[in-house]
Subunit: 236 residues, 2 copies
């Protein structure tokens, strides 16, 4: 059994539609490659109750929970405090985090009270390195708290992911069929039945040339996958 | 108080990272414009238990729940059955849905058993018009079930959203023109200008016979709609 995961995206800007999230997609791809099964993504507003209400069932249900957003210096950055509340632990400015943050500012006065909020770390958490803007993320238990800015999120992920244990990576093959989904559905159903250990998904698309279908098969077993691919190619 | 909403995206392909969702962002923008407060987005796998477990709390918590994905003809399209299970209602091929679906196929034999799955509608649901590929979505209670293919999702949303924001029901007429979109675009633009109170959408398609265009006009005013339909018929 592979480890499982959920992603919790925190941000009013995603829910209003102003921002189209990219961190979820990046992390989904990275988890798949690492052999960690992503089972759920949630997006909630920048509200403590919403974060706590989502986080507690997710951290109970999955091996890992990854959060994105709400750890900057402004008044609406409340993720760290909400995570501490969800765990029922204390939270305060931590000296190691403050020292790391200070390296980002030539003038000590620039590390003002608002920026110091970024050194608030729940008791018992491990810091996640942020090579871009220093302000660290953190892991508390199985919850990994990262920034929302995509380039910083990606950098934190590079710091964090190698430390987590993955199962065997899931391989995939993709076969494009330039016919509508309905014309291959019966064949696919039979194939799925013959290969219960291979996950077979069907993704219709529309182009100016007409309807088509991408078939994606996924498995940890390369040989079984190759047999399914061979069958899929006959559908073309 | 504005109405509230959640979006439930159903799709292994989003969780694997293979597809970067766009329907959530489109709907978020449309809801914001319509004065409906989007409070949560969830992505779950193509698994009946996962859909039911997410859907029941969401439909209890928010005014509306919008789903995307899993209503095509293949074995992994299980959303309609999962929604029926969440509500504890029956589900079967419904005659009006079957009749709509049949208009998409010149040869009756092409409406095979797998494609007929797309006419499975839970008891008591209202159909959502799909001018692109006919297979309808549906609303059951406060849950609105739509396709995952972005162009079809967008067209269903155009059918559904005006009915949710109060006032007189929005009527629609659909005119099929067996010519490419570009050959009617100028005429459509002039028509849209002459009838600013009628929403006119254009949905290109491709068949073995070549390019064509479905024009869908929507309005609360039946007389204005009839005048637009009369004009559209002259485009044929």
């Amino acid at each position: 059994m592979n480890p499982t995961a959920a992603i919790l995206l925190i941000g009013d800007e995603i829910l209003s539609g102003r921002t189209r999230d990219s961190n979820g997609n990046l992390l989904a791809k990275r988890l798949t490659a690492a052999g960690i099964d992503l089972k759920e993504i949630r997006v909630v507003p920048d509200e403590p109750d919403a974060i706590v209400s989502a986080l507690n069932p997710l951290r109970a249900a999955y091996t890992h929970v990854f959060t994105s957003g709400g750890i900057g210096p402004t008044h609406d950055d409340i993720t760290a405090d909400a995570v501490a509340a969800a765990f029922g632990t204390g939270i305060d400015v931590r000296e190691d985090a403050r020292a790391i943050l200070a390296t980002n500012y030539d003038n000590p006065e620039d590390l003002n009270d608002m920026r110091l909020r970024m050194a608030r770390i729940p008791d018992g958490a491990k810091l996640i390195d942020n090579p871009i803007s220093k302000a660290p993320g953190f892991s508390l238990g199985n919850v990994h708290v990262m920034a929302g800015v995509p380039v910083i999120f990606a950098a934190m992920l590079d710091s964090l992911l190698p430390t987590l244990t993955g199962g065997a990576p899931v391989r995939s093959v993709s076969v494009r069929i330039d016919r509508p989904e309905g014309s291959v559905a019966a064949g696919l159903a039979a194939l799925a039945q013959a290969f219960p250990d291979v996950s077979i998904g069907s993704y219709p698309f529309v182009t100016s040339g007409g309807f088509g279908t991408n078939i994606v098969a996924r498995s940890r077993d390369i040989e079984r996958l190759a047999r399914v691919e061979k069958q899929l190619l006959t559908f073309r």
